[in-house]
Point group: C2
């Protein structure tokens, strides 16, 4: 518990310490068991450390890349009686993204929105053949049925070269999600904070309060601004709502008492072009805009041209100074996904058929934001939403369990197995909060896609 909750803040980070041992490994002077190494290498019987192919008698191994909505739901439902589950991901927990924005302002604690994988699928910490590896997949060999992995060491000033290893799979599932889009705007990656992981929320919370603290310093104004493009996503409004509450200044009475030195933070929401929350019905959008403005949010139309450490430049040359810059503008295909040797869907995601399989190879599947229907399926690519990912994970777990029970669990043995009905997505509507006790719910004719 302590462990899991702690590591929740590790997302996407690493530490030089351990990887360093790959260097000093051979001449460590303090006695410690090398069973881990030996054992693993033994298992594999390669020159390379890792997990070797499973034998016919053993359980089949499902390797899942990612611990998001899709991957977590998949692992939760997999039948560990017939499958060993091996998860390779740069974070050891699932983030309940709809509530992430609330943690930025202390409405919720960070641990409330992160669920350790070991509790979603206990097998990864208990069952002998199941593992969680805090690592990143760097390559796939569909013919050999193996993936290349390396430990995460980025974000460390003294990071050494990562430790590399291989994992052989019987079934491989890509659930590695997408990346926040910067639209190639200069300075975004360096100066903005995204809102996709727990450590993002922690950084926003830290900067937000630092700004409020510093606003007390004589002669020093502070300005808190939240920038985002209009995206068909509830996240944006939740963020603004969250930040808006951050501005209420409750912990800083002197920011609010009239007659006292006082700062007036402004929330500024830049819109690329369209309305905010453009996926919602027009009346709901208008209501949302009214509520946000009422709660002190300034809505501004404009396109960001350049982002500097303390101000942005709009396309009309206007300068917008900021204290905290939150970039919540939707997602696009990650560089890892782009690098994969598979046919892509419109939008550059991993292309899948109606059964969420990658048709060009055997035993490979893709779910969630990283996957999309191939054009050949005649279906449109599903939106990058939790409800899509979660139901794809559920569906694929059922499919894989069915395949396993039919004797097709191991590599290249599923050719003749009936995989059952294709995946069908039914949109159940959208919600977005726009202030305390205020929210939008859009239940227009849910479309079957």
């Amino acid at each position: 518990m302590a462990a899991s909750s702690l590591l929740r803040s590790l997302t996407g980070r690493g530490c030089a310490g351990p990887t360093a041992f790959s260097r000093y490994y051979r001449h460590l002077q303090y006695p410690f068991s090398t069973a881990a190494a030996a054992g693993a290498q033994g298992e594999a019987g390669w020159g390379f450390p890792g997990l070797g192919p499973t034998a016919k008698g053993e359980k089949a191994r499902v390797v899942v890349l990612g611990t998001g909505w899709a991957g977590s739901r998949l692992m939760k439902d997999l039948d560990t009686g017939g499958y060993d589950v091996v998860c390779v991901a740069p974070r050891n927990h699932m983030v309940f993204t709809p509530l992430l924005a609330s943690t930025c302002v202390g409405t919720l604690e960070f641990r409330s929105v992160a669920e350790p994988l070991a509790r979603i699928q206990p097998a990864v910490s208990k069952s002998p053949g199941s593992h969680f590896f805090l690592a990143r997949c760097t390559g796939v060999d569909p013919d050999a049925h193996t993936i290349d992995c390396e430990t995460v060491t980025d974000g460390q000033k003294d990071a050494l070269e990562p430790w590399k290893f291989k994992v052989a799979y019987d079934k491989l599932v890509f659930a590695c999600g997408a990346e926040a889009s910067t639209f190639g705007i200069h300075g975004v990656a360096d100066n903005a904070v995204f809102l996709r992981e727990v450590h993002h929320a922690q950084e926003i919370r830290r900067r937000l309060l630092l700004n409020l603290m510093l606003s007390e310093v004589p002669g020093m104004p502070a300005l808190l601004i939240c920038i985002m493009h209009a995206v068909p996503s509830a996240e944006s409004s939740r963020t603004v709502r969250g930040l808006g509450k951050g501005f209420s200044g409750r912990p800083y009475p002197r920011l609010c008492n009239a007659g006292r030195p006082r700062l007036e933070p402004g929330t500024c929401w830049l819109q690329a072009a369209n309305e905010i929350l453009s996926s919602f019905d027009v009346r709901l959008r208008q209501y949302a805009a009214k509520q946000l403005v009422k709660s002190g949010v300034r809505l501004v139309r404009g396109i960001v041209k350049d982002v500097q450490p303390n101000k942005l430049i709009l396309d009309d040359g206007e300068e917008v100074p900021y204290g905290v810059l939150v970039w919540s503008t939707g997602v696009g295909a990650s560089s890892f996904v782009k690098s994969l040797p598979f046919p892509k869907s419109p939008g550059g995601r991993i292309g899948v058929d109606e059964w969420l399989r990658v048709p060009s190879v055997q035993d490979v599947y893709a779910i969630g934001d990283c996957s999309g229907f191939l054009e050949s399926t005649g279906k449109e690519v599903l939106p990058a939403l939790a409800q899509v990912a979660e139901r794809q994970g559920k569906y694929l777990a059922q499919l894989l369990n069915r395949v396993m029970k039919a004797g097709g669990g191991h590599a290249t043995s599923a050719a003749e197995v009936d995989v059952g009905p294709p995946f069908v997505y039914k949109h159940l509507g959208s919600m977005a909060t726009v202030g305390r006790y205020k929210a939008l719910v859009d239940l227009r004719q849910s479309k079957v896609r």
Copy 2:
């Protein structure tokens, strides 16, 4: 509450955002109140932003540097009916250091060991003349009765020049503590984690669990080591005990199940020369050592010569690889204290007389780890312990309240006032935990110093 708990992790850090405004301040394009600046500058009437001298009619202003044991207790007890309290410190909370080590391993939550100053002394966030400034004091002008301050911006990759301001004082109290000693050993500052602030504990916890996670990776050994010199402080053993629990591997069963690939983390406690916990009775020291070894701690005698990112070099040339390096070796005078133009006590602390005054100047006091009795007092310098600092804060609050009631609250008006009895320290004994449900208590003849 959210705010305070959030900022607890800000200790000693800063953010470029706000300070940036000192630059763009004049041509901000978004409307916001400049009352803060105007107001403050008005107050001071200098060219420089800040708080100007208090008028005779107004409350006198006590400026406290620091929010540790000494400063927090002082501010808690100050009579805010007669004094305005202005605190200048790089963190806005007090840390309950005796339990800090427990937060490294999740026994306690971080917020449990940090108490926001605004709750210790509500005046700083409510009373018009009282303030908390998240800043660092850079200089003192005892004749003008002013201090120079600048906002904290270190630890930020894109930190800009800090925002500078002045604060005039009627009474100035140094409670700025000490710095962890590195004994000039190369690489300590870069590679070791200290254990003095909440963010230190967070970093230890992060690295500790990262090591445990990575130990699951095939072929990759991990080794967790805690290094500290023998110091007359309970902190060390608490730390080891804490880390020891981290090793219990509860969240990582496969680290402990025999027959499974397994790592054997070692806790290594290096001793400079003497016993561990050298302030304790010899039998207690022996008991502690036995308990620590029993709980898997390896006690090693040796002197660290060099610290590298993943191993240490001992004076006998031996190399000790480590995953996490905790440096808990006692404290010494900080560079700020060294830079002050006051006579020093043995050990380089700010020299004070029996009334904790800095005798060479008026209206300046020093308490806690940053202060020590001048040789001229014939008293020995008190140990850097919480119980010393806390009682000095309590004593000084009473002294200042007495002075204020006698009409000596304002600058240079206390010359004729009776300051009452000198400060007398009575040692009440020491405690140290050495494992769950095990602890040392040393109640030998408490010495009056």
